[in-house]
């Protein structure tokens, strides 16, 4: 693998940039692997990366029904933060955020991590109280956040309307180390790193069945042939229920559509990410100048990657009250992704009823921020067969035991 650097850039420019090699190889499927990871999105690729890096397991295939990073990895609003209420969540999201900080250097691939800060608005008395609680929880756990007053918020974000009338700004929870990253680059960077180790990334390869022997699988049937494997892990977000059904069990997740949109590009107006949880909307400005807007998920089961019009309308209507100037912006694009929601809005990184199948799913509306941490924890689970400290609280058993990691109240819609 050629190292990307200023020198290689200069060198290749003499060659009209025809000398660059492909970032990752398109290999053919082998008959046998130690580990098969289903799903070449951010979480799947990160899992393969940390399997190789932390445990030296590189006899791995990452198989993907569509194309690399073509699901929710390419469809999110790229927000990275870790100001969660529950200790278990804060641990994995903070691990993830801290891994993001050095990811570009580590992968030698610019993921454009931009710690521009994340502001969560408090627009009702209850929300102000809840955010203060989160702030205290964050302090106890060592996650760097602070409460800011409306006056300071207006200074930081001049385009904001703090007076309401309906939802005045009463304060905000500010995480200065949160921010955004380039979502595609995260997938591409991981893919390049693992491909360099000889991990096979196989696209257009759908799982159509598994061959079980009692409570173990010994091979996976795909549209490109049978793969023998010692362990399999599926990391397929919205399609988790379908794969679980193929394997013969069910998961406590439901698939719904989540939408986002971007405006036409404008000059820089807002340097940070703003999340308005009460009114279900969040917004940041991309490096290209587009206002990136996300909102609430639909309430019904859906696999179409399209959402409901009224949810977009609700989101925009709410944001216009807080940011009146966006009423004159035109919408450039709108898209939807299928997210797998759990009852407590926390993910599942777990062993399954089948001995050598592991699952990473349930990230719902907030998986992007968790990619490195999730990969780290899942790799640990696959390599050792038992979850480490990060993954242990997120087992499937927690639903049976009533040991919820309740972020649905704490994080509400805006994840």
């Amino acid at each position: 693998m050629k190292k990307y650097s200023a020198f290689s850039l200069i060198k290749e420019s003499f060659n009209n940039h025809f000398g660059w090699e492909k970032a990752w190889k398109k290999n053919n499927l082998k008959k046998k692997y130690k580990v098969v990871i289903v799903g070449a999105g951010g979480h799947g690729l990160a899992t393969a990366y940390y399997l190789g890096k932390n445990f030296g397991i590189r006899d791995v295939a990452v198989i993907e029904k569509g194309w690399l990073g073509g699901g929710n990895t390419g469809r999110n609003t790229t927000i990275i933060r870790s100001n969660y209420l529950q200790e278990e969540s804060a641990a994995i999201y903070e691990k993830s955020r801290s891994l993001y900080e050095k990811l570009s250097q580590e992968l030698n691939y610019n993921v454009m991590f931009s710690p521009r800060g994340v502001m969560m608005l408090c627009q009702t008395e209850h929300e102000l109280r809840a955010m203060k609680r989160t702030y205290y929880a964050n302090r106890l756990f060592g996650v760097d956040t602070e409460m800011v007053s409306p006056a300071r918020m207006k200074e930081m974000i001049p385009i904001i309307n703090i007076n309401g009338p309906r939802f005045p700004i009463l304060g905000g929870l500010w995480q200065p180390r949160g921010g955004t990253a380039r979502h595609d680059a995260v997938a591409w960077g991981y893919a390049r790193a693992i491909s360099n180790w000889g991990v096979d990334i196989i696209e257009n390869c759908e799982v159509i069945g598994v061959n079980k022997n009692q409570n173990k699988i010994n091979s996976v049937e795909t549209t490109k042939g049978t793969i023998n494997c010692e362990k399999m892990c599926f990391v397929v977000a919205g399609s988790s229920s379908i794969l679980a059904e193929l394997c013969g069990f069910r998961l406590p997740v439901e698939s719904v559509a989540l939408q986002a949109l971007v405006s036409e590009p404008i000059k820089p107006v807002m340097h940070c990410v703003v999340m308005a949880n009460t009114v279900h909307g969040y917004m940041s400005q991309s490096d290209k100048g587009e206002m990136v807007i996300g909102g609430g998920a639909d309430g019904y089961n859906n696999y179409t990657q399209r959402g409901s019009f009224q949810h977009i309308e609700e989101t925009v209507r709410a944001l216009i009250e807080t940011f009146p100037f966006i009423s004159r912006l035109r919408q450039l694009r709108q898209w939807g992704g299928i997210v797998d929601m759990t009852g407590d809005r926390s993910p599942i990184i777990s062993k399954t009823p089948i001995e050598n199948i592991y699952v990473n799913c349930g990230w719902g509306t907030g998986g992007f921020k968790a990619i490195p941490g999730s990969g780290w924890a899942t790799a640990e689970l696959i390599a050792n067969g038992e979850p480490g400290e990060l993954a242990a609280p997120f087992s499937l058993e927690r639903f049976k035991e009533g040991r919820m990691i309740d972020e649905s109240v704490a994080a509400a819609v805006a994840h």
Binding site: S239, S241, I242, R250, L251, P252, V253, E254, S255, D298, G299, Y300, N301, N302, Y303, T304, S308, F309, Q310, G343, F399, K400
Partner: protein, 107 residues
């Protein structure tokens, strides 16, 4: 936008006046059931990519619950029926069968 005929009002309603209520025809388990069954009742949904029988509330209308047969992959609606039906009526099953003769869910 999803559009259903509310079986009570007998008018066409759209998504904005309805509230989704999730999978229909769940069998409630109560005290005395095993932990596994109770867990399954509470959390394990079919979540199919294909035909889904589900409950909807006509919130900004008659205020009543009703059932819908819908495909989650194509968004095609196969009909609505009363919330009092404990399983999908034959008419709706026939409509689904006509569309998917081999009885399999769409992929």
């Amino acid at each position: 936008m999803l559009k259903f005929i509310c079986p009570i009002c007998e008018i066409e309603t759209d998504e904005t006046e309805l509230i989704p209520g999730g999978e229909a025809h769940l069998k409630r388990v109560g005290p005395g059931s095993s932990d596994q069954n109770f867990y399954a009742y509470l959390f394990e949904r079919k979540n199919p990519r294909g035909i889904h029988f589900e409950r909807w509330l006509h919130s900004y209308g008659c205020g009543k619950w009703f059932h819908v047969a819908r495909c989650t992959k194509t968004m095609e609606v196969f009909g609505t029926y009363s919330a009092q039906e404990i399983k999908p009526p034959k008419k709706i099953l026939d409509a689904i069968k006509k569309k998917l003769p081999n009885g399999k869910n769409v992929k």
